[in-house]
Amino acid sequence: MRFERREHRPLALIVLTPLLAVAAALALSGLLIAAAGAPVLEAYWRILVGAFGSRLSATETLTRATPLMLTGLAAAVAFRARVWNIGGEGQFYLGAIATAAVGSQLLSGAPGYLSIPLLLISGALAGMILLIVPLWLRLRFSVDEVVTSLLLNFVAVLVVSMLIDGPLKDPLAFGWPQSQSVADAAMLPKLVARSRLHWGFGIAVVLAFVVHFVQSRTVFGMKSRAAGLSPDGAVFAGVPLARTLLLVACLSGGLAGLAGAVEVLGVKGYVTTDLSPGFGYSGIVVAMLAGLHPLGVVLAALFTATMFVGADGMSRALKIPTYIADVTVALSLITMLVAVFFAQYRIRR
């Protein structure tokens, strides 16, 4: 048995790949639900109802999808250029705490039209810096950025924990470790009244289109894809590799940092160490499910958010641990890898 590269890949196959992968992942976690003695179809039905059954739940799902889109885009642009940014979680937290710090200390009196853009930029900058470190270490000392960006996740969360225990501690939070809040004027306006859905969702969708445009229509996009397809070939063709990768890192880290900023300005207004239920890590799955395509990221983030939000209600009704959502999302990464492989190769005897 051997694998042979497909000469021709029909569009239908490319579109079907993620759908098949998700179906396979749902089937596999269905086995786990069945093993727990719960009705599988009812469980999935409850997840769907839990995620979209009411106005409240639908807006909640879109709210949850917002940071996932941004961390997903962050992973997608990085992976395209083979910058293995696994530090989305840390960049998210650093972006969030930078936003809370600047928002509560410097810009607490500024009007919204001034403070919102400035705060979003501070979050993005913080995320950028956290990814530039591992990339610089890769370029300077040839250290694999996978491990360094992963290790920095732990450092970033500890930095956040230190700041909200110390200089940024909210004295009114009854000793609960929580940062001071940004001013109400700096909060992103609501997209739907009487819900948590905020304009961050719009920002994320627009950015998906912007990233798509940058990747497919600009010189930088071409260079970054070339750097990912073949670094040696890119250098030979005159692409300045280090500079291109650095820009990719700025874009990727910036997007992940922005995710943190948007989550602070859109939902909470302050930072705690459980602000992210693994948005950075899920962003990797989102990017892979999307086939690293920026517009696909929007859909993949919606699927992931559906699982996470829907699993809450299902879990309460059927006594299945909510972790089933994490299992399904992780499984869909693996099934997607396999599905992409078989979209590219056929089996020959």
Binding site: S142, A330, V338, F341
Partner: protein, 313 residues
């Protein structure tokens, strides 16, 4: 200064060094074995988590502690098989596959744990490994009390490092593993089956990682809780680079690392005014520094992360 000397001269510190090093030794040796055959196994963090969970669960349900370790090893081997199928047979990106295995293994272990042990105020506990006294050794001054504070898995880890050092550099099997990691085509020309070697190395390596995880619940603590592995797997990946892919140095690296960790834990209680988070950060920052110092000097297995397909270059 006297604080530092007091800490270094204490038996407690050195006993803690061996205890902290044990999961790292297992994990680092496991990762090293995979990488020597040419496969980066980023599944380590999740595999350690699963090992910690399933080993604990087995003991909680009445198995003895050694069986618990064995169950963990078997589960680790199964995840190793998954990683090998993805990276060796299909030749997928080792980075992404490994992350997939980590995400799956850790979320699956939380799911299984929560399903079997419902949330309660105080987590259920087991009776963990008790320290063993080795006749003769435990009577030695200073070293005796340090050794007699250790549990059997620690001795197993130390033995394993020596065994693996011997196996990798002094046996035909070790040669086959190293050849596969350096140049699978040449290995195949010599009659070695690179696919089989990679499968074997990843499966056995993953089993070792899971045992390292199980040490956490069966010896270091007596209960399981999510996120208890705390990046130890990633630190092991860094330690493999620090060790230049040599088992002896991996043992040294793990001990050195554990020394710093045990030291900072004691310094934390002795020094006032520094936020405890600064101390907690040190292991991760040390790992990054170790990578920077060693990455250039270390000789990477040449075929690491390169999928092997017969008849293809």
């Amino acid at each position: 200064m006297s604080i530092v000397l007091d800490i270094i001269a204490s038996v407690g510190l050195w006993a803690a060094v061996l205890r902290i090093a044990t999961p790292l030794i297992f994990g680092t040796l496991g990762a090293l074995l995979c990488e020597r055959a040419g496969v980066l196994n980023l599944g380590i963090e999740g595999i350690m988590t699963f090992g910690a969970m399933i080993g604990w669960l087995a003991v909680y349900h009445g198995a003895d502690l050694l069986t618990g370790l064995l169950v963990a090893a078997l589960a680790g081997a199964v995840f190793g098989l998954l990683h090998a199928a993805l990276t060796v047979t299909l030749g997928l990106s080792q980075h992404v596959s490994g992350l997939g295995v980590t995400l799956f293994a850790s979320s699956f272990s939380y799911y299984l744990f929560r399903l079997i042990v419902p949330l309660s105020g105080s987590p259920p506990t087991i009776e963990p490994f008790a320290p063993v006294t080795v006749p003769g050794l435990s009577d030695l001054p200073f070293i005796g009390p340090i050794l007699s504070a250790q549990t059997p898995p620690t001795y197993l880890a130390l033995l394993l490092a020596l065994l693996l050092a011997y196996a990798v550099f002094r046996t035909p099997l070790g040669l086959a593993i190293r050849m596969t990691g350096e140049n699978p085509h040449a290995a195949e020309a010599q009659g070695v089956n690179p696919m089989a070697v990679r499968y074997g190395a990843v499966i056995v390596g993953s089993a070792l990682m899971a045992v390292g995880g199980a040490f956490l619940t069966l010896s270091a603590f007596n209960s399981f809780f999510p996120t208890m592995v705390q990046g130890r797997g990633w630190i092991c990946i860094a330690l493999v680079v620090f060790a230049s892919w040599r088992p002896g140095r991996a043992l040294f690296g793990a001990l050195l690392f554990a020394f710093f960790d045990a030291f900072q834990l004691r310094l934390q209680t002795a020094v006032d005014g520094v936020p405890y988070q600064v101390f907690l950060m040190t292991p991760y920052i040390l790992s990054i520094l170790a990578l920077c110092v060693m990455a250039r000097r270390a000789r990477v297995p040449q075929a690491l992360m390169q999928p092997y397909r017969r008849g293809e270059r």
